[in-house]
Amino acid sequence: MINYLFNPAHWSGADGIPTLIGEHLLYSLIALAVAAIIAVPLGIYIGVTGKGVFMIAGLANALRALPSVGLLILLVLLISPAFPSKMGYILPSLIVLVLLAVPPILTNTYAGVRAVDAAAVDAAKGMGFRTMKILTDIQLPCSLPLMLSGVRSALLQIISTATIAAYISLGGLGRLLIDGKAQNDYSQMVAGAVLVALLALFFDQLLAFITRRVVSPGLTRRTVKAAAPTAATDTVKTPVAA
């Protein structure tokens, strides 16, 4: 593993480690952005209006039970004949990544909006805030911690599943694992595994840092204590089912 990582030949060229990391990040961030664009507004809408709550629990559970490998391979076989060249496997991979990232963001955004102190909303209403202003100034900032924790689990899920997508010839760090397996090169597989794990850890910590920076300090000081006893039932961390 050490030899593999410190061999300069593995750090340049079209299948060098920097290229693989770049590809992995590109696919992951595109999928995360698309998932957030779908899930955040929908979660806010459901949280504020209370419409479609039944969708939330069912969707999250059903998607968790779907095996991502099976889904990935099924979509590749369905979609790839319709697209020439690389799009045939990039598109299904992105669809699966988005599909897996939507539920954690959606459920956490919904839960975040729901968990906003009703007294705070009432107070804002009493002060003459309009609905939109209540949303942007009260409900959204207050639901930010939960929303971001949803984004965090979604990104982990994506990074993990993007690794698996190497099997259906997507680029990224998963290549080292899958090609290493094909070539019986265990050191290459371990190098890939270490890099993927480091990438996931780095982005997890980065998002934790961002969460600390953007969430209002007044909010965290209060919720740290108040949220502890009830946290168990509704914020069971979404597992990386990949």
């Binding site: 490998v69 099924l74 890939g192 996931a200 961390k237």
Partner: protein, 216 residues
């Protein structure tokens, strides 16, 4: 769907299903057994809680395929050894459940604990006969999440060539053949739902005092 193929392959599919159940359920039981004392420890000590939950969170971030590949280095096993999968999923289950168990014990009302004490229950008696049973609904909610995600995670091991239902996916991919893939997905989802249902039933059986309407 090619049902004739399914009929011919039924022996093999049952074999794969058996392995899948074994690889998904063993880590669930092992993980719960390890998480109970750790969770109790985190519940007792405010200093240990953030430490254990932090380490659990870090372990959780490691992608499954990476963990399957790295564990042989730690365990000294072969890459194709199913033990790697059991160990990896046990790690995920423990990582998920440590916090759940600690929070479950935290959720037991103080009045209940004091009532138990007043009735003469000693520390461990109160834990086993009062606090754990009261915490069962929270623990089983966490266990359901772990069970369902374990079933899905086991299929990733097919990429390394370890036989279970995921092998139907790789087989279908190599043959460009939909039948095994669809059969595999359906069996995985049904298996996840059965495990989920069993835990719900177990929860109801262990907590006869709760109202019969159980959410979700």
């Amino acid at each position: 769907m090619n049902f004739e193929w399914l009929g011919r392959q039924s022996d093999n599919i049952v074999f794969l299903l058996g392995w899948h159940v074994l690889l998904a359920v063993t880590p669930l039981i092992l993980g719960l057994l390890i998480a109970l004392p750790l969770g109790w420890w985190a519940h007792r000590s405010r200093r240990i809680y953030p430490l254990l939950v932090g380490v659990a969170g870090l372990l959780y971030t490691v992608p499954s395929l990476a963990l399957f590949v790295l564990l042989p280095l730690v365990l000294g096993t072969k890459i194709l050894d199913p033990l790697n999968i059991v160990a990896a999923l046990t790690i995920y289950t423990v990582a998920l459940l440590v916090r759940v168990v600690a929070d479950a014990l935290d959720s037991v009302p103080e009045d209940t604990v004091q009532a138990a004490k007043a009735m003469g229950y000693r520390g461990y008696q109160s834990l086993v006969k009062v606090e754990l049973p009261v915490g069962v609904p929270v623990i089983s909610a966490g266990l359901r999440v772990a069970a369902v995600s374990n079933v899905s995670l086991v299929s990733v091991a097919a990429l390394l060539g370890i036989p279970q239902l995921g092998s139907l996916f790789t087989q279908g991919f190599q043959l460009r053949f939909f039948t095994p893939i669809i059969a595999g997905i359906i069996l995985c989802v049904v298996l996840a739902m059965i495990l989920d249902g069993l835990i719900i039933l177990l929860n109801r059986w262990l907590t006869p005092w709760t109202p019969k309407v159980v959410a979700s």
